[in-house]
């Protein structure tokens, strides 16, 4: 992984500010309500770390619009990652999966901040299935940065941005980072190295 202060040039762009993020979450909440007539069967599972506060906010917004607040839980997905078994990823510590409701026959909405390869969502699907048999599973992501490696697409999306694999897309949230913003950091391409 590249370090923050290496010598390659980079430029940061703000993709979403706090206002844009709030509007996106409102749009997503509305879309979730519209797509699910049986709203009381909804549960939201936020993928740790930043999917969890996003899931809480979506639940709050849904509650304002539909007078029902879906229960929210946390999904770690770390124990279902495919790179661990392949021996290429480090066994990093995430949080712990926790929710105190059954997913049987519920509509589970997975909530994550950034969708890229789709491997985290694959892991999340397997993990949820080990907890029970949901009626359906849907996916809500704040940002889709492209670069899919698996056939996975979001049902509810806040923002789309086409990125180069070297670029970083970072979601910052008040609950964790003290501010609401989505940043894109374009990093110098490897091909330009030494040519500056």
């Amino acid at each position: 992984m590249a370090t923050q202060n290496d010598n390659t040039s980079s430029e940061k762009t703000v993709l979403m500010d706090a206002q844009a993020m709030r509007e996106a979450l409102e749009r997503m909440a509305r879309a979730i309500i519209d797509a699910n007539e049986d709203i009381e069967s909804l549960v939201l599972l936020g993928i740790l770390t930043r999917g969890r506060p996003l899931a809480d906010r979506l639940a709050d917004t849904i509650a304002e619009m539909a007078h029902f607040r879906p229960p929210v839980g946390s999904l770690a997905t770390t124990l279902y990652r495919d790179d661990l078994r392949a021996g290429v990823g480090e066994a990093k510590l995430g949080g712990t999966t926790h929710f105190d409701f059954s997913v049987d026959n519920r509509t589970v909405v997975l909530v994550d901040d950034v969708l890229a390869a789709g491997r985290t969502i694959r892991a999340a699907l397997d993990e949820v299935m080990d907890y029970g048999r949901p009626r359906r599973i849907q996916l809500a992501c704040l940002v889709d940065r492209g670069g899919r490696e698996l056939p996975i697409q979001p049902d509810y999306l806040g923002w789309t941005v086409a990125t180069h694999p070297n670029d970083w897309v970072t979601v910052r949230l008040k609950e964790i980072d003290g501010e609401d913003a989505v940043l894109e950091e374009r990093r110098a391409r490897t091909t330009t190295e030494g040519g500056e």
Binding site: V88, A91, L93, T96
Partner: protein
């Protein structure tokens, strides 16, 4: 939010606590909570696919129910295939034949071998020469590292609950280990583990059951139970190994009970919050009174539950850390040289 520890797991094997650094111990303890959650799933599948398709062999040369079951369950909850090989030979097994047996087991393409042996050092010798990840499940009077880890994990969970601090460690925790310390690999691993994690350890028992050079272990020693119980946050009773009692290490069982048994009477000297722990199996009403073993302060069964999570964490770290895997795939030449001729 807690910072992730800077360390990553790099070792091929888990042989003992003595050669682990504090951050390695903490990495194992920090890896375990997610596995506690899996065993608690009420509906659904109580396993994760982390060791899918790997082979874990439990190779026990000494009787064991708890530890063997715990390792087997841990492997199964990680989706590994498991195989148990019990060896009835209680006599000294010569190093060479041990190597041969292990070479034959390894020919079946094992990934992790959990070994218990009556000879101190047997896991270490095997680990140096063989490709599989070796986990020491107790070697002679030397070490029982996963027991010490599950004990520290249990203590830490309670300290965190008690102090209402999700990041609290064992620093300054006063732990009194009572009973047959000299014959106990559990005590030895626990002393190293607790010392490294910053706890203050007191040993208590008849002087004949204290290890030699105990004064160099960085612990307080007393032969008065009251002294050990006063101010203790954790009271850890060891099993009196009755099978060794014919050597006459203390005058009589009745006298041991009078002087060292943990019961409601002796517990008057301990703080109300003190936890009661025991590695099992208990000699009821010998080292530990039934009223205490089954009482509200006892976390003995929780130790057993946590043991599965700790062993899952250990096997996951050994088998899934890239650097540990690299050490396992190319050890032989180096290890053979290390053994000398």
């Amino acid at each position: 939010m807690r910072e992730a520890p800077s360390t990553v797991w790099t070792r091929k094997d888990l042989i003992g606590i003595e050669d682990l650094a504090r951050d390695e111990l903490e990495l194992i303890l920090d890896t375990a909570p997610q596995f506690v959650e899996i065993s608690r799933r009420e509906s659904g599948i109580k396993k994760v696919p982390l060791l899918q398709g790997r082979l874990v062999v439990n190779w026990f040369h000494e009787p064991s129910t708890r530890t063997r079951t715990s390792f087997e369950l841990a492997a199964k909850r990680l989706s590994a295939d498991t195989l148990a090989i019990t060896s009835s030979s209680s006599s000294e097994v010569k190093g060479e034949s041990l190597h041969d047996t292990l070479a034959n087991i390894e020919a079946m393409h094992t990934d992790i071998i959990v070994i218990r042996h009556s000879c101190a050092g047997a896991p270490h010798i095997l680990a140096r020469r063989h490709r599989s990840h070796i986990v020491n499940a107790g070697d002679g009077r030397h070490e029982h590292p996963t027991q010490a880890l599950l004990d520290a994990f249990t203590m830490r969970r309670h300290v965190r609950k008690l102090r209402n601090d999700p990041d609290a460690g064992l620093d300054g925790l006063r732990v009194s280990i009572i009973g047959d310390v000299a014959n106990s690999r559990v005590a030895r691993s626990n002393i190293w583990c607790l010392n490294k994690l910053g706890a203050e350890v007191t040993l208590c028992g008849p002087t004949t059951l204290m290890p030699v050079a105990v004064d160099r272990m960085g612990v307080r020693v007393t032969s008065r139970l009251q002294e050990a119980l006063e101010g203790a946050d954790v009271i850890y009773a060891l099993r009196i190994q009755l099978e060794r009692q014919q050597r006459g290490l203390f005058p009589s069982i009745r006298e041991y009970i009078r002087l060292f048994r943990i019961d409601n009477d002796s517990l008057r000297h301990a703080p109300a919050h003190a936890l009661i722990m025991h590695p099992g199996p208990i000699n009821r009403d010998l080292e530990l009174a039934t009223e205490v073993a089954d009482g509200p302060r006892s976390v003995i069964l929780e130790q057993v539950s946590n043991g599965v999570a700790i062993r899952m964490a250990v096997m996951h770290l050994l088998a899934n850390s890239p650097r540990a895997q690299a050490a396992a795939s190319a050890p032989q030449t180096q290890a053979r040289q290390g053994l000398g001729s």
